[in-house]
């Protein structure tokens, strides 16, 4: 078990925006719901927005943060010369930021469930997969592509593209079985039909991507080369 001091350092290295983003988003989601309700927006509509914001907002934040973490680190060479100094510390930073996002998402989903705004058939612990599966998938994609392309901008572009593309292709490819299993936002797109399988596929593919990213970051020569300018 690593000391708390080390986690505190890693949290600081992850950066304030990465830690403040999730609570701000959580507050915005709740405000959105309250604002929608006070405007007299249709109940279905009002219910749909917080769920969508939870399912889409948390993953976007997680993906962009994760894509930023392996980027240019001035101390990379030094850390690479320390046993377990590079990859594990990146993982700790990722864990801190994703943990923060997870806590906020959990708070929002609990609020939605408690206020009866959560109409999705899966609730409780299983219901957390609404945001957890796409958030992990996009985070791992960002992390892995940052390691592969050695560029924060490129990794962010891919995360942004996948996130936006999923909104656009979700309708066009609704009949494609393979795509249905991999669609990030299946909860608000198609409801509970095939949802457990979709979440399972997302989590498994995220795990595979994570292994690829881990291996790529183990190549110190690639890390030292940095992004080709």
């Amino acid at each position: 078990m690593k000391p708390v001091d080390l986690w505190r350092h890693e949290a600081r290295r992850a950066g304030l925006p990465a830690l403040l983003g999730p609570p701000v988003l959580a507050a915005l989601i709740q405000l959105l719901a309250v604002f929608g309700a006070s405007l007299g927006s249709g109940e279905e509509n009002t219910r749909w927005f917080p769920m969508s914001a939870l399912e889409m907002g948390v993953p976007l934040l997680a993906g962009v943060v994760a894509a930023t973490l392996p980027g240019r680190d001035p101390v990379a060479e030094l850390r690479l010369a320390i046993p377990h100094g590079y990859r594990p510390s990146l993982l700790r930073r990722l864990a801190v930021t994703l943990g923060c996002a997870a806590l906020c998402a959990l708070a929002v989903s609990v609020t939605l469930m408690a206020s009866n705004w959560w109409t999705f058939p899966y609730g409780g612990a299983a219901g957390q997969l609404v945001w957890l599966a796409p958030a992990l998938w996009l985070a791992v994609l960002g992390f892995c592509s940052a390691a592969a392309l050695r560029s924060t901008a490129a990794a962010t572009s891919l995360v942004a593209f996948v996130w936006t593309g999923e909104q656009i292709f979700g309708g066009a490819l609704a009949d494609n079985t393979a795509y249905r299993a991999l669609h990030l936002f299946a909860t608000t797109s198609w409801g509970s039909d095939g949802w457990p399988l979709n979440r399972l596929v997302l989590l498994s593919t995220a795990l595979l991507l994570a292994v690829v990213g881990w291996l790529l970051l183990g190549n110190a020569e690639r890390v030292l080369r940095g992004e080709p300018e």
Partner: protein, 286 residues
């Protein structure tokens, strides 16, 4: 901690060969590694630090084979490394930066860490500015932070890559004195292209040229390469065309040149006492 290197070759993607069949033994104590820019010194240092894998050849440090993950891990546990381009987190103070590196190096006890960091800040004479942010530090101060972090875990092997580049004369003297004091029973490998740094601190050294070992021996051996090959020429005219001009000093209406050449470069040339720099140049010129 002895370093044994045999047939070490490193070819980068794209075909650039940084090291070409390097065979070398580094004993305990202060050891200099000289070479011009691009000679392969940094690649060699990075291989020793376990950052790069050689294309071929064998490296053993203190009996640990660097080709194995266990060997690299064992070496890194006893290693203090100061890279050529020491990056820091500019928003951290020197103390906090050292605290972070100490934690990464496994110094988990807060009190032991504080004590060690305090000692090292004293050693590198940074106690007064320990709580200032690193972004305000001069190049020399940052190099001293670098040496402090390298010493955190009391390493048996210290690898310092171009540590005095960009330092003012006072900082350079302070820095190399510190390194020499640290040597003791450690192995300190000092890589540099500044000949004077090696001359002032090392008894033994190696010279790399284009990835190959050009020389291995004592400082005296390298100086001996320039015996009877160093000349001074005072002339009002242009510099001698033969040999390598080491220095040019205005003198009255003319110039006094110091030249390394196999034969007197000018009828007025007088022999001079060689230095390590002359020996290095004589070696490089063949």
């Amino acid at each position: 901690m002895r370093i044994d290197v045999s047939g070490l070759t490193k070819t980068y993607k794209g075909g650039a060969r940084a090291l070409d069949g390097l065979t070398l033994t580094v004993p305990t104590g202060m050891y200099g590694l000289l070479g011009s820019n691009g000679a392969g010194k940094t690649t060699f240092m990075r291989i020793l630090a376990g950052l790069l894998r050689p294309t071929s050849g064998r490296v053993a440090i203190g009996g640990h084979d660097m080709a194995t993950a266990e060997g690299r891990l064992a070496v890194q546990r006893t290693l203090g490394y100061l890279p050529q381009d020491l990056g820091v987190y500019p928003d951290l103070s020197a103390r906090r930066f050292l605290d972070y590196i100490a934690l990464l190096k496994g110094l988990h006890s807060r009190s032991a860490r504080r004590r060690r960091i305090g000692e090292l800040l004293e050693v590198v004479a940074l106690s007064d500015v320990a709580d200032r942010r690193l972004k305000g530090f001069s190049g020399g101060m940052l190099r001293r932070v670098g040496i402090a972090q390298a010493l955190l875990a009391d390493p048996r092997l210290l690898i310092v890559d171009e540590p005095t580049t960009g330092l003012d004369p006072e900082e350079r003297i302070r820095f190399r004195t510190l390194l020499a004091q640290l040597a003791g029973d450690r192995t300190v490998l000092l890589s540099t292209h500044i000949v004077d740094d090696v001359a002032q601190t090392c008894r033994s050294l190696a010279v790399l040229a284009k990835g190959r070992l050009a020389f291995q021996g004592t400082v005296g051996d390298l100086v001996s390469h320039a015996y009877h090959r160093v000349w001074t020429v005072s002339t009002p005219g242009p510099a001698p065309v033969t040999g390598r001009v080491v220095s040019a000093l205005p003198e009255g209406t003319g110039m006094r040149y110091r030249v390394v050449a196999a034969a007197p470069p000018d009828p007025r040339a007088r022999p001079a006492e060689p230095t390590l720099e002359d020996g290095y140049l004589a070696l490089m010129d063949g």
